[in-house]
């Protein structure tokens, strides 16, 4: 079901490359001349103190923000201007820092919404919901049920998500992103506001997604312990500038990183 170009890139090759990207809002530099890449199959963490430009970076990748400067290449194809619609179509899915679900809809419908781009039957069939449209609906429902099993949220599939506790909302949001069968999954603080048990569950899901589906994951996280356990490589931003990039061990030992987090005596 994945787009063919997604398969052509071998594990370990560059899936997404960011070159010298800058993003400013008025006079504020959110991201300044950052370059890095994400390789296929890896879990890539982006960390940094508050206001470091991490979420801005994700927003650039999935097309919510247009950088004023720099080049972005996804699956080897450089792009000039990308809208979120194109990003989603190209195989980039994401979750949000403050859960963005369709609150009035059930968990099931939320995840089904993630299948939007995979479903193709036309307006007319949709209107009568008969014949091809119904077959298609059933087929995609199967895929969605698999995801629901995988995330262990069978019991809440018919509950409007607005009524769910925060931890479960985050899980449904992950499910919606997974339903898109993405090549690149962006997770913005997937464990924010969770207790220890929920964090462990979420960590396991992230590792499983990476293992089972081979999905490339880029995640922003504040819990350094989690980041060090999960990720293959870590990018550290501070005030919109890249200050370190490497394996968890390398980054942990980096003096610039320690200074950024603990402050430095002037």
């Amino acid at each position: 079901m994945r787009s063919p170009t997604g398969h052509e890139i071998a594990a370990g090759d560059v899936l997404l490359s960011i070159e010298d990207v800058s993003l400013t809002f008025g006079g504020v530099k959110a991201v300044a001349g950052v370059s890095f890449d994400i390789r296929k199959g890896e879990i890539r963490a982006i960390i940094g103190p508050n206001g470091a430009g991490k979420t801005s970076m994700l927003n650039v990748i999935n097309g919510f923000y247009q950088p004023q400067h720099g080049r972005i290449a996804f699956k080897g194809k450089a792009r000039a201007r990308m809208r979120p619609y194109d990003a989603a179509r190209g195989g980039i899915a994401r979750t949000f820092q403050n859960v963005a679900l369709f609150r009035g809809m059930t968990a099931l419908d939320n995840i089904m919404a993630g299948r939007t781009l995979k479903m193709h039957r036309g307006f007319f069939w949709q209107l009568v919901r008969f014949g091809p449209a119904l077959t298609e609906e059933v087929e995609h429902r199967h895929r969605v049920e698999e995801i629901i099993d995988f995330l262990k949220i069978q019991a809440i599939r018919k509950v409007p998500v607005g009524k769910l506790p925060y931890g479960l909302q985050k899980r449904v949001e992950l499910g919606r992103a997974l339903a898109m069968e993405p090549d690149l999954l962006l997770l913005d603080e997937p464990m924010a506001g969770m207790n220890l048990e929920e964090k462990e569950d979420m960590s396991r899901f992230i590792l499983d997604v990476n293992d089972h589906y081979g999905t490339t994951i880029a995640l922003i996280e504040h819990d350094i312990g989690v980041v060090m356990d999960l990720s293959d490589r870590v990018l550290v931003l501070d005030h919109g500038i890249k200050i370190a990039d490497g394996t968890p061990a390398e980054v942990q030992a980096d003096q610039a990183v320690i200074d950024a987090y603990l402050g430095v005596a002037h």
């Binding site: 989603a88 994401r94 949000f96 809809m105 299948r115 939007t116 949709q126 919901r129």
Partner: protein, 327 residues
Amino acid sequence: MDLLYKILIDPFVQMGAAPDLLVQTLWEGLVGGVLYALIALGFVLIFKASGVFNFAQGIMVVFAALTLVGLYQTLRRWGVAPDVVAAYLALVLAAAVMLALAFAVERLMLRPLVNQPDIILFMATFGLTYFLIGLGELVFGGEPKVMITDALHLPSGGINLKILGGLVSLQKIDIAAAVIASVMVATLAVFFQKTRIGRALRAVADSHKAALSVGISLEQIWVIVWFAAGIVALATGIMWGARSGVSFALEIVALKALPVLILGGFTSIPGAIVGGLIIGIGEKLGEFYWGPLLGSGIESWLAYFIALLFLLFRPQGLFGERIIERI
């Protein structure tokens, strides 16, 4: 005491005494209610999918009806015959005009205003209202027109039922209106609840950024809802037009959709229907049985009074989505 008797008891005694009259009144109310419900349906469609209260829905009804009649007359003048061909050709063209309107609204009104507060979009629909009034008058003229009921071969005449020891007469056009409205509502309800595009519509209503992130195209969704609302407006225009002619006065009637929406909830299609029926029937019963007590003109405010009562007990409407907030 006498007054209380007149208000609380006497009307029901009258209802019991002449059941055929009661049935006739209920039927009239039902028909009026179906038409209110259709107008409300147009509002709900757009509100559900874009969170915009479309003040222009009423004028869209008039505009659609005017376009249909205007196009028909033009086609006839060009010698398109027989009249049934001209009428249905005009119907298809009028639907195309509503589609063009949907595209124009998306491109020229919604897109530049994306991410603006709801009140701004609401004001923009006021602008649209006056634009459509102007455009309608400019192109088709301001004088009232007669709906092309005969050319469309809509049923006319009445059926007289001998029941309950009296005579109840039903207009065939009203029956047709009720059937068309039911089919439309059922289709839309299933469409919204059970299909990909329906889900996408609800998704856009809930969260723009989340909808964008799963690859839903806002532009496409907006065109679809405005077009759907346009088609509903066209159907409503034909039915209202058949009853009371096509003129800009219809717009006042469209405002009756407001109490219907308050009653049914802004986000519920079944709510629009039930709300429409309650208002329609309540209005007719009130006018017929209680009207003489309070003097005439009760019809013009009773709907709002009923809505007000409902607001006191169910601020989200009969079927509106309960506001869920975790704290």
